[in-house]
């Protein structure tokens, strides 16, 4: 069994599911659904298998390294380590839950599920790729299905949002591509796009300090748009508001993580001088700005989904802060925060979608008395909100705590301001809960036609795993950190922290 | 033209040059298209003369036959067919004339400047360029372009016929 290309199979499986979905006639909706479910299920199962094979602390594992395009020096190099494993888990789990959640999707189900699985190809690939070009390929693949998800099933301004999403991300990624070319061009004698090789080269001082600053800037732009870091975030609220539920879940749950992952996998370990030479501080400041800005904007949003979108910006600020710290705690925190944010925000977007489906509105001003009308949904919403506002004991706290700890280790005077975000975050979530959940039911003309029904079984099946994760990680994050910490420590060591 | 009479050659050159330039301008500024075509024929004849002056007699002959003859006839034919009449040449000008003139003048200065720097005198051909020489060239060294040119003509023929033939239906 040792020569099974586990990771390649993990990428090939969704491709196969895609092809299968293409072949099935659109009219056979049931078959389409079953195929999507079985497909994503098998992918997830395969990922669990990989999880069992993974040895915590063993560095890069299950590597596959083959020549691909010799002319441009591109290789097919995959591998998995503590940093990527949790994110791959997200990328295999969330689509499965999305398929379950949207079981009743009746507008073009074939295209819908096809796009989800296609998205999965890119998402898994990004976290597995160890070659810059390969990474970039997967990075870009992700754009297309998400673009269509927004464009076809989105809200009223879907076209604007879809294009905005695509263009913003693309601007970032082409500049990132230029950075990658710089890395390659000034790299070792035998030019290579190999991430690990270039990382070692960078750590050995291969790149001049001044050059590092520039390359970091180029990579930064690519990752910053994706995270998104202020002031490159403006695409996010639009994309989230317009995207269908599943699109939002995957966008917030996985796509945003690609940026943070990029920093941790590439920018930081490869360009330590740039990090020490000012980019670290800049990131810290931006991280704090993200935290406070996201929370401040979420505070007065009138649209529930937009509020959650801005909360995402705030939470990703903690990721940035942790990255900026570059210490073991910070990197642990950033990585964990990415995972937990995926879980929690995924949950929140699911819930927003459920509310919208029932009330046909996302306006905070129009929703009332959910606790009375849809108690189960409300309890989950309360749970998710508390998890999101960083309640200790739930998953959100651990990542934030460790990120902050990292921040305080390196930039106590900057990190100080991040603490404000904690209060603001609590404020807008509580305001939201107070307004829509814990409020008396008032007969509203606009909602008179809506017939609220409580959570459906398939929705609960999608939510319960996320809730369990959120609880488990908050109560006992040790197993996860055992996986994460060696990788994080290695990065911290490279940065001398 | 025999080189032994240099003075004569100069006279002929200037006459032909004046003809070429003059008829060109006349063609350009004539208000009547039929006149225009006639001036064009005249200018092309002047060119034929110049070619002959340079010793390319075969080419000069072709110029007379193909251009001054055949092509101009076709042009006149089309002019007659389309019944395009007389017009004030000012009305025929594009709005961009001034700009075009400026560009052409600037361009011309540069071009003439470049050409003026080119001084070699005309070398005498080692062997006269006879029809036979050209025939040999066309069938040996330039066989490929020659054949391909024939294809071009064929293609043009097919195209022109196809485009024009509809008239009869």
């Amino acid at each position: 069994m040792s020569n099974v290309p586990y990771l390649s199979v993990l990428i090939a499986l969704p491709v196969a599911v895609c092809l299968a979905l293409l072949v099935i006639p659109a009219a056979q909706e049931r078959l389409v659904r079953l195929t999507a479910l079985a497909g994503t299920g098998v992918i997830f199962a395969w990922n669990v298998l990989i999880l069992t094979l993974y040895r915590p602390g063993g560095g890069m594992q299950l590597e596959e390294n083959h020549a691909w395009v010799p002319v441009i020096g591109m290789r097919y190099h995959l591998g998995i380590d503590g940093l990527s494993l949790p994110l791959v888990l997200l990328a295999t789990m969330l689509p499965l839950l999305c398929v379950i959640f949207s079981w009743r999707q009746d507008a073009q189900p074939k295209t819908f599920f096809f796009l989800i699985v296609l998205l999965q190809v890119g998402m898994i690939g990004v976290f597995l790729a160890l070659d810059y070009v390969l990474f970039y390929v997967f990075w870009e693949i992700v754009l297309v299905p998400m673009f269509f998800l927004i464009n076809i099933w989105g809200g009223d301004r879907r076209r604007y949002a879809a294009v905005k999403f695509f263009i913003f991300t693309l601007v970032g990624s082409v500049v990132m591509l230029l950075g990658i070319l710089l890395l390659w061009f000034y790299g070792p004698k035998e030019r290579t796009f190999d991430i690990l090789t270039l990382m070692r080269y960078g750590q050995a001082g291969g790149y001049a300090s001044q050059l590092q600053m520039w390359i970091f800037a180029a990579l930064f732009l690519g990752f910053a748009v994706k995270v998104p870091i202020f002031p490159f975030h403006t695409w996010l609220p639009d994309a989230h508001v317009e995207a269908p539920t599943v699109g939002s879940v995957l966008l917030a749950g996985v796509l945003l993580k690609m940026g943070g992952y990029g920093f941790l996998r590439m920018a930081l370990p490869t360009l330590p001088e740039a990090f020490k030479g000012g980019w670290g501080t800049a990131l810290a400041v931006l991280g704090v700005v993200n935290i406070v800005y996201g929370a401040a904007l979420a505070l007065t949003q009138k649209d529930l989904k937009k509020m959650v979108a801005y909360s995402s910006i705030g939470h990703m600020g903690f990721v940035v802060l942790g990255i900026a710290a570059g210490t073991a705690a910070g990197v642990d925190g950033a990585a964990l925060q990415m995972f937990t944010h995926g879980i929690i925000t995924g949950m929140l977007f699911f819930l927003v979608g459920m509310i919208y489906e029932r009330y046909h509105t996302k306006e905070l001003a129009k929703l009332r008395g959910l606790m009375t009308e849809v108690p189960t949904l409300s309890v989950v919403l309360v749970f998710a909100s508390f998890a999101s506002l960083g309640l200790p004991g739930l998953a959100g706290f651990v990542g934030e705590f460790l990120s902050l700890m990292g921040g305080f280790e390196r930039y106590p005077y900057i990190a100080m301001f991040a603490v404000i975000g904690i209060v603001l975050t609590a404020a807008y979530f509580l305001r939201m809960l107070q307004q829509i959940v814990f409020s008396p039911r008032t007969p509203d003309v606009a909602l008179a036609c809506a017939q609220p029904y409580d959570a459906r079984p398939n929705e609960m099946v999608a939510l319960i795993p996320l809730m369990s994760f959120a609880l488990f990680l908050g109560v006992y994050p040790h197993p996860f950190l055992q996986i994460l910490d060696p990788a994080a420590s290695a990065i911290a060591k490279a940065l001398g922290g | 033209m025999p080189d032994s009479v240099p003075g004569g050659a100069y006279v002929v050159f200037f006459l032909l040059a004046a003809g070429a330039v003059g008829f060109s301008l006349a063609m350009l500024f004539s208000r009547n298209f039929v006149h225009s075509a006639a001036y064009l024929a005249a200018a092309l004849l002047a060119f034929a003369g110049l070619n002959a002056l340079l010793g390319a007699t075969f080419l000069a002959m072709l110029q007379v036959f193909i251009y001054a003859g055949a092509v101009t006839v076709v042009v006149v034919f089309v002019v007659m067919m389309t019944r395009v009449g007389v017009a004030d040449w000012r009305a025929l000008l594009q709005p961009q004339s001034k700009l075009a003139a400026a560009v052409v003048v600037v361009f011309g200065i540069g071009l003439l400047n470049a050409l003026a720097g080119f001084v070699p005198a005309l070398a005498s051909p080692k062997a006269p360029v006879t029809t036979r020489t050209i025939a040999e060239l066309l069938l040996k060294e330039y066989a490929a372009p020659f054949e391909i040119s024939s294809l071009i003509l064929l293609a043009a023929l097919i195209g022109a016929i196809y485009l024009a033939k509809e008239a009869r239906q």
Partner: protein, 473 residues
């Protein structure tokens, strides 16, 4: 001589078939349909012959016909690519000229195709000129093939007037170069650094070069020589435009590399800077203006201008790797662009094609829309489609040769280009059709099976070139 005939047997075969096709039509005017098979068969036979010649490369490679034509790897590459593309165009236009013009159409098409190969195989500016003319003259007529259509005739006339203008200017340039350099053959490097020229001829070389580039730039639609293309593409007969917009560009780019490659190797700064400037302007202008188009063919014309810019990046960068990258890019561009025009043909027929025509195509013709999406995203440079690897290889080559700014501008304009490629995708999979009526109630797009086959082939090529083909770059 015999070996020359064997070496160029594919071309001779094509010529013979083109002639035979006309004769056939004249003799059996009622059997129009058979003409198509002859055309397709001749192209396929030419491909086969090319393959056979390539297998005997050692014996046949070299110059032929007194050095007028050269048979080498590039020629073979061009033959195979043009043959394939030609076959695809024939397939796509299978049912569109089945009336009385079919013989003329296919004959002219084959002549034009021959011209392309002459351009690549030629060794001198004379052959280049003649090749260009053989390519161009049939297309003037082809563009206006639907002469009952006013816009087609207008397109033909514009194409002709500007094309002839460009040819004449180019010819003047050739004459200046001939006078200055005493030769027009580029078997030996034609352009050398002007510093090594005597001042007397330096001016002539510069003017000659510029005029030459004007003629060539016209055909590859490089800014500012591209002005004809949007008008002609928007008015002409679509299958012809599919052809005109791809293969001539490829042929000229290959020839340009032959002509200018050595010159740039000897660091001719001005020439290089000119090409680089054309590249930048083409990329910027093409992409920016394409954003504002509602007419799909016109949009694709501007996209073509932009793509020419990308190709010129490789030319400016120079070097072996740039050339390899360019070849790959050209192959990709050929299939992608052909495919895109084929879909336009399928959707709008020979009429004006607006973005609205693509509304809801995702439901009215899912497979067509899927293919179009592949083409659009490939043109936009989205991995893992071929377009990405083509561009990536080009930009990488630019970086290697120190053209950072070209790579950066290319990347940024690529972003702009996404704006209009996405517009098509949005129309197809969005708009009012997206979710409203059930699929069955929409009027489905009917496209002839051969056209579908051609589209499928180009789409598969676009995907496979990216995922698999890139290995062989």
């Amino acid at each position: 001589m015999t070996s020359s005939l064997i070496a160029f047997s594919p071309e001779i075969l094509l010529t013979a078939c083109a002639l035979g096709l006309i004769c056939f039509d004249v003799l059996l005017p009622e059997r129009k349909a058979t003409v198509r098979w002859i055309a397709l068969g001749s192209v396929l036979a030419a491909i086969a012959a090319s393959g056979w010649v390539a297998m005997n490369a050692a014996a046949l490679y070299g110059t032929h016909f007194e050095g007028a034509l050269v048979l080498d790897a590039h020629t073979t590459f061009a033959r195979l690519l043009f043959g394939t593309a030609g076959a695809l165009v024939i397939l796509a236009s299978w049912d569109f000229y089945a009336d009385r013009s079919v013989a003329e159409y296919f004959a002219l098409f084959l002549f034009s195709l021959l011209g392309e190969i002459v351009i690549v195989a030629g060794t001198s500016l004379l052959m280049l000129f003649i090749g260009i003319e053989l390519l161009a003259i049939p297309t003037y007529a082809l563009v206006a093939l639907l002469k009952q259509q006013e816009m087609a005739v207008e397109a033909g006339l514009k194409y002709f007037l500007l094309g002839m203008f460009a040819s004449v200017v180019m010819l003047y340039g050739v004459s200046l170069l001939y006078g200055a350099l005493h030769t027009v053959s580029y078997l030996q490097p034609l352009f050398v650094a002007p510093g090594t020229l005597t001042p007397a001829v330096r001016g002539l070389v510069l003017f000659g070069f510029f005029f030459l580039m004007m003629g060539v730039g016209f055909k590859i639609t490089a800014f500012p020589f591209h002005f004809w293309s949007p008008d002609v593409y928007a008015g002409g007969s679509t299958p012809v435009i599919a052809y005109v917009s791809t293969i001539p560009k490829v042929a000229i780019m290959l020839a340009l590399f032959r002509i200018l490659g050595p010159a740039f190797a000897s660091e001719w700064a001005a020439g290089r800077a000119f090409i680089a400037a054309l590249a930048v302007l083409s990329m910027v202008y093409g992409n920016v203006v394409a954003l504002m188009q509602d007419d799909v063919r016109r949009m694709l014309a501007y996209s073509g201008v932009a793509n020419t810019g990308y190709m010129l990046v490789a030319l400016a960068a120079g070097g072996e790797d740039s050339y390899a990258a360019l070849l790959f890019f050209l192959v990709v561009y050929t299939f992608t662009n052909l495919g895109a025009f084929f879909v336009v043909l399928a959707v709008s027929g020979q009429e004006r094609a607006t973005l609205d025509d693509f509304g809801g195509l995702g439901r009215r013709g899912p497979s067509l829309a899927f293919a179009m999406a592949i083409f659009m995203f490939s043109l936009a440079g989205t991995p893992p489609l071929a377009g990405f690897f083509g561009k990536f290889a080009l930009f990488r080559a630019a970086v290697v040769h120190g053209y950072w700014y070209l790579a950066l501008i290319a990347l940024l304009t690529t972003v702009v280009s996404v704006g209009y490629y996405l517009k098509v995708a949005q129309e197809m999979y969005g708009g009012d059709y997206a979710l409203s009526a059930p699929g069955a109630q929409l009027a489905r797009v009917a496209a002839p099976p051969t056209l579908r086959l051609a589209i499928a082939l180009t789409a598969v090529a676009t995907v496979l070139l990216g995922v698999v083909g890139v290995r062989f770059m």
